[in-house]
């Protein structure tokens, strides 16, 4: 144990007492942080799950429509209809602080403001199914963004919770018991040396008295 390396003096004892106090306070704070993170995490993880289900459903539908469209149109036609997008998406990323974890917030902007203008082709040579597929696609896109946001948040929070929990446990089960043991060891040592000093003093006093008064025991 660490007690072998400490010198049992009053100064070291005070040092360790201070450390123990800090460790206890840190432990309490980290525990609060962990609980707070956990609460946030629970909230966001249910949202994440719902969004995930929604996006998966939406995408499956959109892909089904696209499948129908590709069955009707020739692959070359389909390819050429979609190859040059009319709009482009720009994303601005902002960070929000959730219990000292930076999580991203996404805001997107399309270069094209009109939501009906997503079709990058003329209507003459394409089938209505393709329009439908694209409409579904753009409908699910917003949820996909939100999904990215929450899923990233969940990942980051999970990481932070794990880290915090490790710290809490390290303090609770390693650091604090170690400090307590060192303090106990030093207190005992000090008491012991105090006792021996007392005994020595008594002995010396006895010898001095004997010398002075010449009396026999």
């Amino acid at each position: 144990m660490a007690s072998k390396t400490v010198t049992p003096t009053r100064m070291v004892l005070n040092q360790y007492k201070g450390r123990l106090k800090t460790a206890r306070r840190g432990h309490k704070l980290l525990k609060d942080k962990r609980d707070g993170l956990m609460r946030q995490f629970m909230e966001i993880v249910t949202v994440n799950k719902e969004l995930r289900v929604k996006v998966e459903k939406g995408l499956t539908e959109a892909f089904a429509s696209l499948q129908v469209a590709s069955a009707i149109m020739s692959p070359e036609m389909l390819e050429s209809a979609l190859i040059y997008p009319k709009q482009s998406v720009e994303l601005s990323v902002d960070y929000k602080n959730v219990m000292s974890v930076n999580v991203p917030r996404y805001e997107y902007k399309t270069t094209n403001d009109d939501p009906t203008e997503i079709y990058p082709y003329g209507f003459a040579q394409t089938s209505a199914e393709l329009d439908e597929a694209l409409e579904k696609m753009s409908g699910v896109f917003e949820d996909m963004l939100k999904l990215a946001e929450t899923e990233k948040t969940v990942q980051l929070l999970a990481e932070e919770i794990e880290k915090t929990r490790r710290r809490v446990n390290a303090l609770e089960y390693v650091m604090i018991p170690e400090y307590e043991q060192v303090i106990r060891y030093i207190t005992m040592k000090l008491e012991e040396s105090e006792n021996s000093t007392k005994v020595r003093l008594m002995k010396v006093k006895e010898m001095v008295l004997q010398d002075a008064h010449h009396y026999e025991m």
């Binding site: 993880v45 799950k49 959109a62 482009s88 696609m137 899923e151 990942q155 980051l156």
Partner: protein
């Protein structure tokens, strides 16, 4: 301004291209891996959507970005529908944080 990328099979990414996202088609996991590497090099892309069945092959690559707030790598189902691996990943994250699965099912 950051951008959004989609990595997936040729048919999967086609629709996303029309939406105005940057799409990259990859036939297999290896291609997807090198694609991902080049996309994440200079943090130009904030979100990278990647098809589930491709992501399964390069999960170690993807988990490198798990703790980076700058790049989000999100798996999406491909044309064949979801294989449940994204849900599995979510469950793993919950287990990592809470210590047990609280999502039910």
């Amino acid at each position: 301004m950051r951008k959004i990328a989609v990595i997936g099979g040729r048919e999967t990414v086609m629709g996303f291209r029309a939406l105005g996202l940057d799409t990259f088609d990859a036939a297999d996991a290896k291609e997807a891996g090198s694609c991902l590497k080049s996309l994440t090099k200079d943090e130009e892309y904030a979100i990278i959507y990647i098809e589930e069945k491709l992501a399964a092959g390069i999960s170690s690559e993807i988990s490198k970005f798990k703790d980076s707030p700058a790049t989000a790598i999100i798996t999406i189902p491909g044309r064949e529908g979801s294989d449940g691996s994204s849900m599995e990943a979510l469950r793993a994250a919950v287990e990592r944080a809470v210590g047990r699965n609280i999502l039910g099912d």
